[in-house]
């Protein structure tokens, strides 16, 4: 088996992972930084790949420059296009790169897996032309591509307005932004705004762009159906909602749209912590099952640190601070000196951010009314094309946990391992089984958590022990 050893392994090259590597390097600790992308930055600081793409975010550029500098000096070993697919006993982390699997052992490991979007099922949501806001953002940020002609952006949370403004600034018109939370909820945000001036400035800038371009932002509405014609999205229906986001189906409006970009906030990509065996706890306000953490960012496993949105969604500013804290803490544990003052400073900065993130959580956390959109024939598990009635039959025959419903119905048995169906299905199952969402349990992820081929594994050379 190919095995290599390192003091510090950092998984994920978004704001948290990059900051962790920089912080550790600044303390003289070398690290291996593993990232799936071809360029560091993660989702939020994605690097433009063609000249026609919008300019890179300055914070992302600064982080990339700092990494490049440390990398030249041999302090950070950046492995792009590399994914962690599992961990085996004695902390042997299995990575795959260039279609070859290998094992890496590390004294300390920082996991910064990030988050993905929450798109709850609703009638027509699998129609071609409906995409996640994140997918649209990748097309825009890396290639400068226009996702469609008549674009609507719908869901909840700050990503909607950000994506709309980024499209408009690139010269791509946006027909409508449909935000589930009422306007009055967003009005409360500026009270906390002074704590995060950069975020506030960005947000106000986005709104100004949209106002100038005449893009309507409709608050307190959700998309109730995507209508298909000739196999493509042709129209959407949307309706006003009450405080629980239950739509008023008597006042549905219809609009011709060919591209619908959806996001109801983010879900932590916390599988990797489960695979490592970290203790998990259920936090509805930050997206579901997240690893239990100590103030130094260690998980229940003393050699495994957790940072960024993958530990509970809080955005790029918090992710960067958490990454820095994890990097400093790991460096300290590896013997670096004079880290305490810096650790204290980052703690205080994180503390200042807390009210902002709590205010944002309160606005964008998905409300139960979204579940009312699910009908018997609505596909609830895209990978397996399962309808709600098929899953419900499993629940009615005694399946109450994700773990038992999986073999019984194939719910979550597809490649996504229930990443996408878990948030809505755990709520839905809880509803009819009269349980709390946390009682439905997390999904039970199995290796590989990222794609690896049989050939990549079979290519392992040497003696098998």
């Amino acid at each position: 088996m190919i095995r290599e050893n390192t003091d510090l392994l950092i998984v994920g090259g978004g704001p948290a992972g990059m900051s962790a590597a920089i912080a550790a390097a600044s303390c003289g600790v070398r690290s291996v930084l593993v990232d799936e992308g071809s360029e560091l930055g993660g989702q939020v600081y994605r690097k433009p790949l063609v000249p026609d793409a919008p300019k890179a975010h300055p914070t992302g550029e600064a982080l990339r420059l700092a990494i490049a500098d440390h990398s030249r000096r041999g302090r950070i070993d950046v492995r792009s296009n590399t994914a962690v697919w599992s961990v085996f006993k004695n902390n042997e982390v299995a990575i795959v790169a260039g279609n070859r699997s290998a094992l890496v052992s590390a004294k300390k490991i920082i996991l910064a897996p990030g988050a993905h979007e929450y798109v709850p099922p609703f009638p027509g949501w699998t129609t071609p032309g409906v995409m996640t806001a994140g997918a649209a953002q990748i097309m825009l940020k890396t290639m400068g591509l226009r996702p469609g002609k008549r674009i609507a952006i719908a869901g909840s949370g700050p990503l909607l307005v950000a994506l709309a403004a980024q499209l408009v600034r690139k010269g791509f018109p946006v027909a409508n932004v449909i935000e589930a939370s009422p306007f009055r909820a967003w009005l409360k945000l500026p009270i906390q705004g002074w704590r995060a001036p950069r975020l506030m400035a960005e947000g106000l800038g986005y709104l100004a762009t949209l106002r100038k371009a005449g893009v309507p932002v409709q608050y307190g509405r959700i998309v109730t159906q995507a209508h298909e014609e000739n196999g493509m999205l042709a129209r959407i229906s949307h309706a006003p909602v009450d405080d629980d986001w239950v739509p008023d189906t008597t006042s549905i409006e219809s609009e011709e749209i060919d591209t619908l970009c959806m996001s109801y906030g983010l879900i932590p990509r916390s599988f990797i912590f489960q695979i490592f065996g970290c203790e998990m706890n259920y936090r509805e306000d930050i997206g579901g099952w997240v690893p239990t953490r100590n103030t130094d960012m260690t998980t229940s496993l003393p050699n495994v640190y957790a940072a960024g949105d993958g530990t509970g969604v809080a955005g790029s500013v918090v992710a960067q601070l958490e990454g820095e804290l994890a990097g400093l803490s790991a460096a300290k544990a590896l013997g670096a000196r004079d880290t305490d003052a810096r650790i204290g400073k980052v703690h205080r900065a994180l503390e200042r951010m807390r009210p902002v993130r709590e205010a944002l959580d309160a606005i964008s956390i998905p409300r139960p009314g979204l579940q009312t959109l699910i009908r018997d024939d609505t596909i609830v598990c895209r990978c397996e094309e399962l309808t709600w009635s098929e899953v419900r039959a499993g629940v009615e025959n005694g399946g109450t946990k994700f773990r038992t419903l999986k073999p019984a119905t194939r719910l979550g048995m597809g490649p996504c391992q229930a990443r996408f169906c878990w948030p809505s299905m755990s709520r839905q199952i809880a509803k009819i089984a009269a349980l709390d969402s946390d009682q439905i349990g997390p999904i039970s992820p199995r290796p590989p958590i990222r794609p690896v081929t049989l050939g990549a594994v079979a290519a392992e050379q040497g003696e098998t022990s």
Binding site: M1, S86, F88, K89, E92, A94, S101, L103, A393, G394, N397, G398, G399, T400, K401, R403, T404, P407, A408, T409, R410, G414, P415, Q417, S444, R446, P447, P448, P451, V452, T453, L454, G455, V457, A458, E460, T464, S465
Partner: protein, 406 residues
């Protein structure tokens, strides 16, 4: 409060749901308790219905009766006793009708295939010698096994490695979806009035004399005239609660599953390294290891590598297939590799339906029927005596099992 029924079945794997259904079909009131342990063998089974192949030990990559051990009668370990091969063939014949019956009762398709067959691929002179011994043992009965030359095998399935020397073809060895089989049994029994209790972990078996009076669980107390131990790899622990002892231990099997592929394999495959099967949903399953490591359900890197190498060796085109999952199950293993069925000698109302080991799916229909019939005083389809717990002396001798060095 105690819930009372005619029968309590403990364990909702393939054996537990099968026996519960057999009792329910006979008009008995049944309660089925499930602890949802992680590592249930049913969930880590490939669902091979290999009455003949399994009898010859081809089910786990020829792990058991390796070809170094001749399968000639009277020389070295036997594949399995002939009565058990007949047991497996009888049970295997249940599936076509069972698929219709359960389909009609539940609307579920258990994906029981017919006409798939099984190839045992011959790689070298040693496996060829093994093939000759297999064919001899089966008396050259072409309905059971046929020797196919290389060209015929490759014409049948173009995806196989070109350097094979040939194969033994088992025309009657097909496959089923083991998870859907279990779920359909459960749903059919529920339709017959069975009570299913999820998350019910047995914490005690309360006794009065030689009778179990109460099955105490995390989901309440249950009592019944007939208590069935169908707890799979946990059956030994369960019986100890009633002061009974059976030589049964968990045997870990690791398994690799690919993403959904276009129809690639025309046939089930067994090789010296592993088995390879494409399921109805398009996934290819590659298994399995045979390890005695207690209740550890983790997968190990080196074993996954071995299985991947074995798959690519047999079907080179699988190289580019993405692995969707790897996991492990705990099969209930007994010293003679036969199931434990029927009554426990020391407890008046305790019956076994367990020990399916690597034949648990193919043997589930007949095992369930036998246990229900015997418990109710009916005549069983084949004699139950060879499968009774009373066949064991007290010693737990599993020395012939291949194990991983701990």
């Amino acid at each position: 409060m105690t819930t009372t029924s005619d029968v309590v079945v403990i364990g909702a794997g393939a054996y537990g749901t099968s026996v519960a259904y057999s009792f329910a079909k006979r008009g008995q009131s049944v309660t089925l308790l499930d602890a949802a342990n992680s590592g249930k063998a049913t969930s880590a089974s490939a669902g091979g219905l290999w009455a003949i192949g399994e009898s010859l030990g081809l089910g786990c990559g020829v792990i058991f009766h390796t070809h170094e051990e001749p399968v000639n009668e009277g020389a070295g370990p036997q594949p399995v006793p002939r009565h058990f091969m007949e047991f497996l063939r009888t049970s295997s014949r249940y599936f076509p009708e069972l698929a219709n019956e359960l389909g009609a009762r539940t609307g579920m398709n258990i994906e029981a295939e017919s006409g798939t067959g099984l190839f045992y691929l011959l790689y070298d002179a040693t496996t060829q010698q093994h093939a000759r011994e297999i064919l001899n043992w089966l008396g050259h009965d072409e309905t059971l096994a046929q020797e196919w030359g290389r060209d015929r095998v490759l014409a049948h399935d173009r995806n196989l490695a070109e350097d094979i020397l040939g194969a033994v073809y088992f025309p009657g060895d097909n496959q089923v979806n083991p998870m859907f089989l279990t779920e359909a049994y459960k749903r059919a029994a529920i339709a017959d009035g069975m009570r299913f209790v999820a998350e019910a972990r047995v914490v005690d078996l309360c006794m009065a004399g030689d009778q179990i009076t109460t099955v105490r669980t995390t989901a309440g107390d249950f009592s019944a005239g007939i208590v069935v131990n169908a707890a799979g790899a946990w059956a030994g622990q369960l019986s100890r609660l009633a002061g009974a002892s059976i030589p049964l231990i968990p045997v870990r099997g690791q398994i690799v599953c690919t993403e959904t592929l276009k129809p690639t394999l025309t046939c089930n495959l067994s090789t010296i390294d592993c088995y390879i099967m494409q399921k109805a949903h398009g996934e290819v399953l590659i298994g399995s290891t045979t390890e005695m490591v207690g209740y550890d359900t983790s997968v190990t890197y080196d074993r996954i590598v071995e299985l991947a190498k074995g798959a690519v060796r047999a079907v080179p085109g699988l190289e580019g297939a993405t692995i969707k999952r790897t996991w492990a199950g705990l099969r209930p293993g007994t010293p003679d590799e036969l199931p434990i069925l029927g009554r426990e000698p020391s407890v008046a109302n305790l019956h076994y339906c367990t020990g399916g080991f690597r034949t648990g799916i193919v043997s589930a229909p007949l095992s369930g029927e036998m246990v229900a019939a015997a418990a109710l005083g009916e005549r069983t389809e084949v004699p139950i005596d060879p499968y009774l717990a009373s066949r064991f002396d007290s010693k737990l001798d599993l020395s012939h099992f291949e194990t991983t060095a701990a």
